[in-house]
Symmetry: C2
Subunit: 230 residues, 2 copies
């Protein structure tokens, strides 16, 4: 057993980070989970994460653990809440700083390190280790709050997408159904979509138009302040 | 010197909380600071806060420290960010979970414990200890983001207020000037204000009407989703 060689005048909690990684498969919101290889909760699914090293910031820790455990590199993670209930970990007092990220499914390639990482539909999440169900629910709440003011949803779609895909994404995140024409008009009115390609002249009326997210227009919009109203 | 009797296999950071307490004096945003009595930064102004006890949650710690250092009790604090830069405290690695709260100035009574607590105008903050200027700036950013979607501003006003007071509050938080008539119309249109009292029959045109915040109307509005547009 390793020596207890780090000593302090007062008890210190351990500090960890946990990451909620959201994806979208065209129909439902997905969450990336890892299967725990060690106790406690050995064999159970959990959010990727781990202890903060004494020489790294929490965000550095989150990105490092994410890469080690899921193979995901270079992801932009956003801190949303710190969980500090005194009994949330049976080993010792552990405070967890939670991050979330939105990734395109196409960018995730499982590596050797990631053999135990797997996507689950948000509506079909297994029983999670620790208080990770609580962390996950709060992450979704943050995503819901943000999607009405920021185009975070576009981070979950492929670069080129149809209006139907965009509508399904908003429906999946917000847990509601929209009227097709209404959604279409509201999105176009925002002027943050650009046609992805000239429509082929021989396109039938049933060929859906393809769009890209227009980051420049969005930046303008954000300056003015806006809200997607549904 | 106290014994170093709490020992761990891996180095553990200390964890603290810091509180940004906002008030409003009718003209400008105020921040409650305390003067440090010990090193490091002895004599300098800082946010109220302190180390998280091993048997309390971060929120419990924030409320306890706030009461001990400023006399403020029963304040509803909201977590907004955790600061984890490795060199933010010269003593040891300290991670700080930051909270903010909005209080009515009339509710703050300095006690003996609070002898070193003092309100400063946001535009006239002295040089702060640690990274507290950074924590304070982020707290104001959160307040600005929230005030457009939630009636947080009303927590800073007396129960009964004039439209001019409300306008000055929004101007102080957002750092802009509004057209008086425009602001008035937008606020009335939101329907979250109620007349505080029947207008005296002999009131001159110059006697300002008094309002209260209507929490019930606001709850309705929030269900529908809204944004104050300026």
């Amino acid at each position: 057993m390793k020596e207890l060689k780090y000593c302090y005048k007062y008890p210190h909690p351990a500090v960890a980070t946990d990451c909620v990684i959201f994806g979208f498969d065209g129909m439902s919101i997905k969450v990336l989970l890892i299967q725990r290889g060690i106790e406690p909760y050995k064999g159970q699914w959990a959010l990727p994460g781990g202890f903060v090293g004494i020489d790294e910031s929490a965000e550095e820790c989150a990105r490092r653990e994410l890469q080690e455990e899921t193979g995901l590199a270079g992801v932009s993670v956003e801190q949303f809440h710190t969980f500090s209930d005194i009994n949330r970990d049976p080993r010792e007092r552990v405070i967890s700083i939670a991050y979330y990220a939105l990734v395109k499914l196409s960018e995730v390639r499982g590596g050797d390190d990631a053999s135990k990482a797997q996507w689950f539909s948000y509506n079909d999440i297994p029983s999670l280790a620790f208080d990770h169900d609580c962390i996950l629910r709060m992450a979704l709440r943050h995503l819901r709050d943000r999607i009405c003011f920021e185009p975070v949803g576009f981070d979950l779609l492929p670069d080129v997408f149809t209006m139907t895909e965009l509508q399904r994404l908003y429906e999946a995140i917000l847990g509601v159904k929209f009227d097709r024409r209404n959604f279409y008009n509201k999105m176009l009115k925002l002027e943050v979509l650009t046609s992805a390609e000239p429509r082929p002249e021989n396109a039938s009326r049933r060929t859906p138009s393809k769009y890209r997210f227009n980051a420049e227009k969005y930046a303008e919009l954000k300056q003015r302040g806006f809200r997607l109203e549904f």
